[in-house]
């Protein structure tokens, strides 16, 4: 069955460092992958999209990579700030469905 795994533990990092979150998947061939941010009590907010034929995408301090051979996406936040603290969800997409991972809770310590 399809399975999506994100960093199993909450991730704590020091302000100014680069946070790296992983999203691994099995038994799936997604056409694209998205990353969302979710704050407590709120719905997820879209951050980045990367398609299967793309290796890397950047947006301001965010960078995402997509390796379809390893079946893995890495999500980086450079120069992290306490305001980046949230849960980050990866989502794998195909024709009609978008399947979400369980998320990684990131805490950036001042």
């Amino acid at each position: 069955s399809q399975k999506i795994e994100q960093n199993s533990e909450a991730l704590n990092i020091q302000e100014g460092k680069t946070a790296t979150l992983t999203c691994n998947y099995t038994n799936y061939s997604p056409a694209y992958l998205q990353w969302y941010r979710q704050d407590p009590g709120r719905g997820p907010v879209f951050l980045l999209l990367i398609r299967e034929n793309e290796k890397e995408k950047r947006k301001e301090r965010l960078k995402v990579t997509f390796d379809t051979t390893l079946k893995q996406s890495l999500f980086h936040i450079t120069a992290s700030q306490p305001a980046d603290s949230a849960t980050y969800l990866c989502a794998l997409g195909s024709a009609r469905q978008l399947t979400f991972g369980s998320g990684t809770q990131l805490t950036v310590l001042p």
Partner: protein, 115 residues
């Protein structure tokens, strides 16, 4: 409105009662999704509507769950004979089109508590 609106924001009900959750998508968005999120968990797909096509109901966990959508506007998710395991946040999202990377815009969800 500017975003996806869900109501009520909180719902407390007794086991065995029926509940109805409402979602107002962004105007012009043809696709609408319902997800369930249990505490500390990821999003579990429930149902997907796209225009006038037959909905994808493959995620509905039991026949107690049903959803309707009026054209390309309001959707309601109904849970009959609620059980305690139905307690969760129910999230609605809409997007401009079908698949192919269209980003989803989420509402803030309905927190359902079944006592």
């Amino acid at each position: 409105g500017a975003g996806v609106s869900q109501s009520p924001s909180n719902k407390v009900t007794e086991k065995g009662k029926d509940v109805e959750l409402r979602c107002d998508p962004i105007s012009g968005h043809t696709a609408l999704y319902w997800y369930r999120q249990r505490l500390g968990q990821g999003l579990e797909f429930l149902i997907y509507f796209q225009g006038n096509s037959a909905p994808d109901k493959s995620g509905l966990p039991s026949d107690r769950f049903s959803a309707e959508r009026t054209g390309e506007s309001v959707s309601t998710l109904t849970i009959q004979r609620t059980q305690q395991e139905d307690s969760a946040v129910y999230l609605c999202a809409s997007s401009r089109g079908q698949g192919n990377g269209e980003k989803l815009f989420f509402g803030s969800g309905t927190q359902l508590s079944v006592l």
